[in-house]
C-alpha cells in the first residue's frame, strides 16, 4: 500500500455543553498520513488546537481497537464513516483523498443528547439493559456448565447477536432514531439460549417498554442499521424481537 500525505478541511460540530447552542467550525489539517487512524488525525488537530491555546475537540474513545463501543462520530453522512463493519477508531485515513472536506457530527437522536462537541449521552442503552437485558442468576447458583447443552447453531447465532458493542450507530443511522437493532441484539442473544428462556417474556416486554420510554423511534425495517453496524448485527434479530414481544404480549393474562 502506497503511503501518502494529505491536507484536509474538517467541519466539526462544536458545542460547549448540553444546554449550549452548537455549530460547525472549520479546521485545516496538513500532512496527514494515510497510515493514521481517523482518531489519530483528530489527535493531531487537537494537539494543534492546544498549541494555539484553543479548546480541543471532545470525543468519546477508549480501546481504539473496535470493541469498547465508545467512539461515535458521524462522518460525511455515515456513522463511523465510509467503511463498512468498522468503528471510527479502525477507520484509517486511506479512506480519504488529499484536499477533501470532511464533515464530522455527533450521533443525532433526542435520546442521545450531546454532552459536549462530539460526545453524546448513551445512558439510555444502560437503562434498557436494566429493564431486563440479563439472566437473573445470582453468583454461586450455577449448575455445571455442561449440564445445559446448547444447539451449536443457536449458540453461534446468540454469539453473533451478543457481539453488539452498544455504540449506538444503529440509532444514528436510522431515520426514526430507532434502537431496535440494539434491543433486538440483546433479546436474541438471551432468547436463543436455554438459560434465557424463563425470563424471555418479561424481558421482551420490559426492554421494549423502556426503549419506548427513552424516546427512540419505531422500526420500519429499512435496513440502514444493519448496513452501518460495525459488528454486522443482522436485522433478522429485529424480526425475532418482534416475535418475542408479540408472543409475550398476546399471551399475557392481563386485560
Amino acid at each position: 500500500m502506497e503511503h501518502y500525505n494529505m491536507n484536509l478541511t474538517l467541519k466539526i460540530w462544536r458545542q460547549k455543553n448540553v444546554n449550549a447552542k452548537g455549530g460547525f467550525e472549520t479546521y485545516k489539517v496538513t500532512d496527514i498520513s494515510s497510515e493514521m487512524s481517523f482518531l489519530e488525525m483528530i489527535d493531531v488537530l487537537n494537539e494543534d488546537l492546544i498549541n494555539e491555546g484553543k479548546d480541543p475537540i471532545a470525543f468519546d474513545h477508549d480501546c481504539r481497537e473496535g470493541i469498547c463501543g465508545s467512539c461515535s462520530m458521524y462522518i460525511n453522512g455515515k456513522p463511523h464513516g465510509p467503511w463498512k463493519a468498522t468503528t471510527v477508531c479502525q477507520l484509517h485515513m486511506r479512506a480519504f483523498k488529499d484536499g477533501e472536506t470532511i464533515v464530522v457530527e455527533p450521533w443525532r437522536a433526542n435520546s442521545f443528547p450531546v454532552v459536549k462537541d462530539l460526545v453524546v449521552d448513551r445512558s439510555a442503552f444502560d437503562r434498557i439493559i436494566q429493564a431486563g437485558g440479563y439472566i437473573s442468576v445470582n453468583t454461586g447458583n450455577a449448575v455445571d456448565g455442561n449440564s445445559i447443552p446448547v444447539d451449536k447453531d443457536k449458540a453461534d447465532k446468540s454469539f453473533a447477536a451478543a457481539a453488539c458493542i452498544a455504540c449506538g450507530a444503529c440509532v444514528a443511522a436510522c431515520k426514526n432514531s430507532s434502537a431496535m437493532l440494539f434491543v433486538s441484539a440483546k433479546i436474541s442473544h438471551l432468547a436463543l439460549l436455554p438459560q434465557g428462556h424463563p425470563e424471555r417474556k418479561s424481558r421482551a416486554i420490559n426492554m421494549v417498554a423502556q426503549m419506548d420510554k427513552e424516546g427512540f423511534g419505531s422500526c420500519t425495517n429499512i435496513g440502514a442499521c444493519e448496513a452501518t453496524c460495525p459488528k454486522e448485527i443482522q436485522i433478522t434479530n429485529i424480526a425475532r424481537l418482534n416475535a418475542e414481544y408479540l408472543s409475550a404480549s398476546l399471551s399475557s393474562d392481563k386485560d
Binding site: K11, F24, Y74, N76, G77, K78, V103, E105, R108, A109, N110, S111, A173, K175, N176, S177, S178, I205, V208, A209, M211, D212, G215, F216, G217, S218, C219, T220, N221, I222, G223, A224, C225, E226, A227, T228, I235, T236, N237, I238, A239, R240, L241, N242, A243, E244, Y245, L246, S247, A248, S249, L250, S252, K254, D255
Partner: protein
C-alpha cells in the same frame, strides 16, 4: 401487559400496521382478480357478474366494512407513527445518511402512503360512491343489461363506468401514478409486514422478499394496465 400497553407500544403499533397491511394485501388479490375480468372482452359481462356477486353477498358486504376499517386504521396508525418517528431527531444532520442499506421507497412509506390515500379518495369517488350511493355527475344514466342469471335484476354497470372514467387521459395518468405508488409501497410493505409480525427465519424472509417484490410489480402492473388498456381501446 394490558391490551392498551401492547397497542400503544412501538412494536404494538407496528403490529397494527402489519396486520392491516397484510389484510389490505389480501384485498388487493381479490380486487385485481375480479378486475382482470375486464379483459375477458365480453363487453364487461364477466366483470359485472363478478362485481354483482360481490355486491350482493352479505359476507362481502361485511368485509367491505372491515376493509374500510382496515384502510382507516392503517392510514391513521401510519400517520401517527410517521409523525412520531419524524420527531425523534429534533436536531438533524448536516449531511444526510443516504442510501446505504436502505431504498428510498423504504424510507418513504409515509409519503407513498399519503399519495395512495389521495389516490384512494379519487378512486372511491369514481367507483365506490356511484355504485353504492348512486350516480355522480359525470356518470351518465346507466345502461340496463339483462343478465341471464334468471333473477332479472337490474345492476349498476360498473364496467361501463370504468370505460367512461378512463376516457379522460388525465385520470388515466393519475391512476398509473397511483399504481406506481402502490408498487413501491408494496415493494417494502409486503416483506416488512411479515418481519413486523415476527417472521425471522432467514429462508422464509428471503422467499417473502422475492414474493413481495413479485407481488408488488405484478399486481400494480395489472392495475395500471386496466385504465391504460381501456383508454387505448384494447378492451371490448
Amino acid at each position: 401487559m394490558t391490551w392498551k400497553q401492547m397497542f400503544t407500544s412501538s412494536i404494538g403499533q407496528k403490529f397494527v400496521m402489519a396486520i392491516t397491511g397484510i389484510f389490505l394485501i389480501t384485498f388487493l388479490v381479490v380486487h385485481v382478480g375480479l378486475n382482470a375480468c375486464i379483459w375477458a372482452n365480453d363487453n364487461g359481462e364477466m366483470f359485472n357478474t363478478g362485481a354483482n356477486f360481490m355486491a350482493s353477498m352479505l359476507v362481502i358486504r361485511i368485509m367491505e366494512v372491515v376493509l374500510f376499517a382496515g384502510i382507516i386504521i392503517h392510514t391513521i396508525q401510519g400517520l401517527v407513527l410517521t409523525a412520531a418517528n419524524n420527531s425523534k431527531r429534533k436536531v438533524g444532520y448536516a449531511v444526510e445518511y443516504g442510501n446505504r442499506g436502505s431504498k428510498w421507497y423504504s424510507r418513504s412509506m409515509g409519503l407513498l402512503g399519503t399519495l395512495l390515500l389521495l389516490f384512494l379518495i379519487m378512486h372511491i369517488y369514481h367507483f365506490w360512491v356511484p355504485s353504492r350511493l348512486g350516480g355522480i355527475a359525470n356518470i351518465k344514466p346507466l345502461q340496463e343489461i339483462d343478465y341471464s342469471n334468471g333473477l332479472g335484476k337490474q345492476y349498476h354497470n360498473l364496467y361501463l363506468e370504468m370505460i367512461q372514467v378512463f376516457q379522460n387521459p388525465l385520470i388515466v395518468i393519475l391512476y398509473v401514478l397511483g399504481c406506481i405508488s402502490l408498487a413501491y409501497h408494496l415493494m417494502h410493505g409486503f416483506e416488512s409486514a411479515f418481519r413486523t409480525i415476527g417472521l425471522h427465519n432467514n429462508r422464509y424472509l428471503k422467499m417473502l422478499r422475492h414474493l413481495g417484490r413479485g407481488f408488488a410489480i405484478i399486481v400494480s402492473a395489472a392495475f395500471a394496465m386496466m385504465p391504460i388498456s381501456i383508454y387505448l381501446g384494447w378492451v371490448k
